[in-house]
């Protein structure tokens, strides 16, 4: 029977091609939209993880309680040992220490006295170590608008607005005034190697980037760091896996000594109100997908209805020849399932192929970003998830089937006695 129906579909392409294409295109769009929105969500995650939070972050409990005030007096001690332990315990994670600090940048005049001062919010990362991923994570290569990246100790990058206000150019010198880990005054002279434009006013107005070793020296933080950030090396961010990493680490450290200086691991969602943001994003994502799937379902349902109506005469003949109404109805449902499955498989395959391509290569939007007022990635990427493999079946199969089922109810309403009269016309 199935073979018979399948042959019918293949031989009467005018009957199957349009529903098939409608289903395939609808499913393709659904799959692509799912992957695109998931990609956007993951870009928000990756963006924050790279720049600020890591997928997980190790801090002291005291530091974690008030991270916005950058309490470096509550920094992690013995960072070398801690990094080694983290590397052993979590071999599929990459770990890197960072220091964030506040301070003032003082620019000297010809006599070496204060000419201008500006508040800075500094980030110190491993940017001089060969092969370090920190330059990519901090997006430095794409944001340097004047000068170059630091190439040796004593060189810093500063935000464009700050540089303009202090009248600092690449090659200029400035003194950083801050507080050491122990609260003492910290001062050191630096050469500005480059000016960066993040496109985020707060960063461009106060941003300063320096090598970790420089910061450790000036802030009296030898073998110490405010934060150790971690990322998965064997795959993208996965909430459950990351939460498992944090739970394992915290379970172990909670057994040890407590106090403000004990280390604690926070996931990305635990930081900077990202949980609320991501939950909100998921809600919006769900709403968009639901609306889109409903719209696609209506279209495919309509296609099912149209198909049944177009075959009004054919169904009449079949009933007139004695085929049971139930048999005709089931045959139509069977055909709808076949068209739905074939269209969904084709649409899903095409949608996944497109999404996989854009997951690897992305869409370059840097040309649109030249004058952007906010910091956005230069490429947009899709993200293929297991959901993308099945989500197309909702509009592709169910809608076609339901559309045909509703339209097919007309079969039972037709009177056998009047069939020949109908066929005469």
């Amino acid at each position: 029977m199935i073979r018979f129906l399948f042959k019918g579909l293949l031989r009467d392409r005018s009957r199957t091609l349009l529903p098939f294409l409608t289903v395939a295109i609808g499913v393709l769009l659904t799959v692509f939209l799912e992957c695109y929105i998931t990609g956007a969500e993951h870009q928000i995650i990756d963006f924050n993880a790279d720049l600020l939070t890591g997928q997980v972050k190790v801090m002291t409990k005291g530091y974690a309680a008030e991270p916005d005030s950058l309490p470096n007096d509550l920094s992690l001690d013995g960072v070398g040992t801690l990094l080694s332990e983290l590397g052993t315990d979590f071999p599929n994670m990459a770990w890197t220490p960072r220091i964030r600090f506040g301070g003032l940048l003082d620019v000297p005049d010809e006599a070496g006295e204060t000419k201008a001062q500006g508040t800075v919010l500094g980030t110190a990362a491993d940017i001089l170590m060969p092969g370090s991923a920190e330059i990519r994570r901090l997006g430095l290569e794409n944001t340097v608008v004047r000068g170059r990246l630091p190439e040796k100790r004593g060189e810093i990058l500063i935000g464009e607005i700050l540089a303009d206000r202090l009248k600092l150019q690449p090659g200029g010198t400035a003194t950083l005034i801050g507080s050491t880990m122990n609260g003492a005054m910290a001062t050191a002279n630096y050469t500005v190697s480059g000016i960066v434009r993040y496109g985020v006013r707060a960063l461009d107005r106060t941003g300063l980037v320096m090598d970790l070793a420089d910061a450790q020296a000036v802030l009296d933080m030898e073998d110490a760091a405010g934060e150790i950030l971690g990322w998965r090396t064997n795959g993208p961010y996965e909430r459950k896996l990351i939460e498992a990493v944090a739970a394992r680490f915290n379970g172990r450290t909670e057994a040890g000594s407590g106090g403000d200086l004990a280390p604690v691991m926070k996931t990305l969602r635990d930081q900077s109100d990202l949980a609320a943001l991501l939950d909100q994003f998921s809600t919006v994502r769900g709403a968009i997908l639901t609306i889109f799937i409903l719209a696609m379902s209506l279209v495919l349902w309509n296609a099912g209805l149209l198909g049944s109506l177009r075959r009004y005469g054919e169904i009449g003949v079949r009933l007139a020849m004695g085929e049971p109404k139930g048999g005709v109805y089931r045959a139509m449902l069977g055909e709808a399932v076949m068209v739905g499955v074939l269209g969904t498989v084709a649409g899903t395959a095409l949608g996944l192929a497109l999404s996989y391509y854009l997951q690897a290569h992305g869409i370059n939007i840097s040309g649109l970003m030249k004058n952007a007022a906010v910091m956005l990635p230069s490429h947009l990427y899709t993200r293929v998830t297991p959901v993308a493999y099945v989500i197309g079946f909702i509009p592709g199969l169910l809608s076609t089937l339901i559309g045909t089922a509703i339209a097919g109810r007309g079969i039972y309403k037709r009177s056998t006695a009047s069939l020949f009269k109908e066929l005469e016309t």
Partner: protein, 261 residues
């Protein structure tokens, strides 16, 4: 930068805080009994304790931070209310840092950078060496009697000294603390305790005198604990180790050129 709060303290209190570049305060040994004085008159007497003249002090500031205690030792040369020069002596990381106050201007010199840096604007609001005081606290020169209205608020005994409690309410808009409660020694007109409040009524800082000694015929608070209650930690303790009144001042000390010497 550590969180510091833009608060000021009067010369009377700044005197005990030895890095302090304003004049230390002291009173003649034979103080007048203040029972019959109005609160305003008591306040004027407190102001007058900021005795002009020159003095050289060696002091220690112990910061009870979250990572433990840290003591910074310094020597200060002070002339009147407007001129002061401080050189940090210990620990090694701070050794050689110098500060110069001339009127309402403040500069610092750090050997690590060989720079003379003007302390103004945002930097004034930073904590001095991580203590519970800001540079701005140290720069306050105005007399309390000029900017506060005083009212009696009871009495209490501190360090076996009967004190009169005054509630000071700012009558100028730019007062650093809208309200202060000060415990004034009834006989010596020394501030023995102080609470400083913001406009919202929130307690911001406290000062607790721990020891008073008679040096060179004057009563001096030689130990005090200042606490920024908005900041973690257990406050900053100031101790005067030695003070030499009317000592001759080296010539040209109060100049920016002397910072590099």
């Amino acid at each position: 930068m550590k969180r510091a709060h833009p608060r000021k303290i009067p010369p009377a209190v700044a005197g005990i805080i030895l890095i302090v570049l304003s004049a230390p305060f002291s009173v003649p040994a034979a103080g007048a009994e203040q029972a019959d004085l109005t609160p305003e008159a008591v306040l004027r007497n407190v102001d007058e304790n900021a005795v002009p003249g020159s003095k050289i002090m060696v002091s220690a500031m112990t910061i009870h931070g979250r990572r433990g205690d840290r003591t910074i030792k310094s020597r200060s040369w002070i002339e009147g209310e407007d001129k002061a020069f401080t050189e940090y002596l210990e620990p090694p990381r701070e050794k050689g840092i110098k500060m110069l106050k001339l009127g309402d201007q403040l500069w610092t010199y750090t050997p690590a950078t060989d720079r003379i840096i003007g302390i103004s604007g945002n930097l004034l609001r930073q904590a001095v060496m991580g203590s519970d005081l800001s540079y701005e606290d140290m720069m306050e020169n105005r007399k309390w009697s000029e900017i506060y209205e005083a009212a009696d608020d009871g009495g209490e005994t501190i360090l076996d000294r009967p004190c009169r409690i005054l509630k000071l309410t700012a009558r100028v808009a730019d007062a650093a603390y809208h309200v202060r409660r000060v415990w004034v020694d009834r006989e010596r007109f020394l501030v023995m305790r102080e609470e400083r409040y913001g406009k919202s009524g929130r307690l911001l800082k406290t000062l607790e005198v721990g020891d008073v000694r008679r040096i060179g015929g004057r009563w001096i608070q030689t130990r005090a604990l200042v606490r920024d209650v908005l900041k973690e930690g257990n406050g900053t303790e100031f101790v005067i180790e030695s003070i030499d009144f009317d000592a001759p001042m080296p010539e040209a000390l109060f100049s920016k050129a002397s910072l590099r010497k």
